[in-house]
């Protein structure tokens, strides 16, 4: 299976910057503006969150953005509408991140088909477990050239990491510490030991580190231990504080992270 994600990782081995934002936030129709600004500022990959009423793996910042987006009137249908013409203005790899229930209600096969039609590259469904995916949904994902991005954490056993790696394509999402999103900032020694332990496993799938990556310093450090890193809550805060000048604020933030 080959799509924009593979191309990215083939062409760039280090310092990959993946930025997360919540669809429909801060305003309902900001999606296109944010994608274009991220693309222009030099982000390598974009992760778009599908808002959900009960986001259990997320901390207060992303929870709040989900609630605002839902009260703005965002739905999965609307997200697809907003993304319908995305491939007319950018070729940046895009993954959707969403909890399983909204995807399940939409219909997993229909959902995957829609993603392919639009030209999306991967999905992160944190509460869709590996066994369920393999038994029920892997076929639909693969038939539509969508990478399923799995999470691993410091508590994930070596045996399970190998199993997840075997079923992964695209990249692995390395959760930096036992936490929800946006809970911690900074990287501690124990986390570095975990990154190095995973590096030594010689996995087939590239890896990005997420959770706790919030600025230039933590981004640089994470990049020393993986192919790149994911910034979520810190970016959502930027959006929250700059509703009126998103483009400029996004450009500044991304350039600062990249040290340019």
């Amino acid at each position: 299976m080959q799509n924009r994600i593979n191309t990215l990782f083939q062409n760039k081995k280090k310092d990959i910057l993946n930025v997360y934002f919540t669809a429909g936030y801060p305003k309902l129709d900001d999606t296109k503006t944010i994608i274009q600004a991220l693309d222009k500022a030099g982000a390598d990959l974009i992760e778009i969150g599908i808002p959900y009423s009960d986001p259990v793996a997320d901390g207060p910042t992303i929870q709040a953005s989900n609630q605002v987006a839902l009260s703005n009137g965002i739905t999965l249908e609307k997200i697809f509408e907003q993304l319908q013409d995305v491939r007319e203005y950018t070729q940046i790899p895009i993954v959707l991140m969403g909890y399983f229930n909204p995807v399940f209600q939409y219909g997993v096969e229909r959902f995957c088909g829609k993603c392919k039609e639009i030209g999306l590259d991967g999905l992160i469904v944190p509460d869709l477990p590996l066994a369920e995916y393999v038994d029920e949904y892997q076929e639909a994902f693969e038939a539509n050239s969508l990478h399923n991005i799995f999470l691993i954490s410091p508590q994930t056993s070596e045996k399970r990491i190998r199993l997840i790696d075997e079923h992964s394509s695209g990249f692995l999402y390395m959760v930096s510490s036992a936490s929800v999103t946006g809970a911690k900032t900074g990287i501690e020694d124990a986390q570095v030991a975990y990154f190095e332990r995973v590096n030594a496993m010689d996995l087939q799938t590239p890896r990005l580190i997420g959770f706790g990556i919030s600025n230039r310093e933590t981004f640089k450090e994470a990049c020393q231990h993986a192919n790149g890193a994911i910034i979520g809550s810190a970016f959502v805060n930027v959006l929250a504080n700059n509703e009126e000048n998103l483009e400029e604020a996004i450009g500044d933030f991304v350039r600062k992270i990249k040290g340019k």
């Binding site: 009960d54 259990v56 901390g59 399983f100």
Partner: protein, 394 residues
């Protein structure tokens, strides 16, 4: 093999599973691998049974309610879970889970609570075992269930307000899950109902199954026959009903009646009658019937009873509904309060508002004069005095 028990993949029919983020996999897997083994262990059973007998006060009586029976022209037996220590069936499960948590080497306990009954039952067993206890409770529930909040604090628990989402039970569950994500290695999450990822629904049902185990024995002694014609219980998440139904699931001649809270009516938009308005979905890591929008967003339920105010139900109950093994009935606030007050007058028992929903189902049903009806009186009404007072009409 029973059609109503969980299968090896953690499903009841098409309901169940463990839709958890990978970060929780080690915890849930540890439980899954160990719970049956630990529960089958003789020493564990000895300790569990001893505590149920001498600390909780089991077996609870099976009481032939003569005046209530006369009112309905049949034979109604009340299973007196209201007489348990802490006032409800909830403690059967918390005793079991805390003993299990200790055997898994856990040091800290977290729990969610709606009305506070499960929170109190958890705080109680944590005090008993000398373990740290954190209870998550929706900010709105904290305001409307003040006495239970104080009970938990007196027992040494820390009560943390869930301020996310709708600030009620479902959000307290979310916050407890998040806590577990943040603190996974030495913490056990005592879920209070037959909900959550496999193995919780099965584990909690097994701990609560003592209710129907006793019912069978007591029925045999009192009526000469182990099986009744009807077993009636209320369902929010469904733990008391799971316990009351458990040992009758394969006796198809026993009519199982699950009573949900209709709130202001199933078509009013203010209801907690999940099977009436819900559709299949995933809530709190389990595939079950869920009150939700077409877009898959969970809808906030409503009931006068905080213990039934839940937008889903255990996967076992979803399966009992789907397979028609149990009949589901819907009782409004008004019907429940009327039935609750009737029990006070006829039998001198003030029931929990949750249990009053089960009582109100009697008004919707027709019984023969020789029928044997067992109703699980899941809790006592001390905690609901304010609700009864506000309601008036007594």
């Amino acid at each position: 093999m029973s059609n109503y028990q969980i299968n090896e993949k953690g499903y009841y029919g098409k309901f169940g599973g463990a839709f958890i983020p990978e970060m929780l996999f080690p915890n849930v897997e540890e439980l899954r691998e160990n719970y049956l083994k630990i529960m089958a262990d003789e020493e564990f059973q000895a300790e569990f049974q001893e505590l149920l007998r001498n600390y909780v006060g089991r077996p609870t009586p099976l009481y032939l309610a003569k005046r209530l029976s006369e009112h309905y022209g049949t034979n109604i037996y009340l299973k007196r879970e209201d007489l348990n220590h802490t006032g409800a069936h909830k403690i059967n499960n918390t005793i079991g889970q805390i003993l299990l948590a200790r055997r898994l080497g856990k040091k800290k306990i977290i729990a969610e609570t709606g009305a506070g009954q499960h929170g109190v039952a958890t705080a109680t067993v944590c005090a008993l075992m000398g373990m740290d206890c954190v209870v998550y409770m929706g900010e709105i529930d904290i305001a409307r269930q003040k006495p239970n909040v104080e009970r938990m604090k007196i027992l040494g628990a820390e009560v943390i307000a869930a301020t996310s989402g709708s600030k009620t039970l479902k959000d307290a569950c979310n916050e407890a899950m998040r806590h577990w994500l943040n603190d996974p290695t030495d913490t056990h999450y005592i879920i209070g109902s037959v909900v959550g990822p496999h193995p919780y629904p099965d584990m909690v049902a097994k701990f609560q199954s003592v209710i129907s185990e006793e019912m069978r024995k007591q029925l045999k002694e009192q009526t000469g026959k182990e099986t009744p014609d009807y077993v009636i219980a209320c369902v929010g998440g469904g733990s008391n009903a799971a316990g009351a139904f458990y040992h009758f699931l394969d006796d198809e001649e026993v009519n199982l009646v699950a009573v949900e809270a209709a709130g202001r009516g199933i078509d009013s938009g203010e209801t907690a009658a999940t099977t009436a308005v819900g559709t299949i979905g995933v809530l709190h890591a389990s595939k079950t019937i869920v009150m939700q929008t077409e877009d898959g967003q969970v809808v906030e339920p409503y009931s006068i009873s905080a213990g039934l105010d839940y937008p889903g139900m255990g996967p076992m109950h979803a399966h009992l509904f789907d397979s028609n093994r149990a009949q589901f009935r819907y009782v409004t606030d008004k019907q429940a309060m009327t039935a609750g007050i009737r029990l006070c007058k006829l039998e001198g028992i003030i029931p929990a508002v949750e249990s009053s929903h089960a009582l109100a189902a009697l008004d919707q049903m027709k019984f023969g004069k020789d029928d044997i009806v067992v109703l699980n009186l899941s809790g006592r009404g001390d905690k609901d005095l304010e609700t009864y007072i506000k309601w008036g009409e007594y």
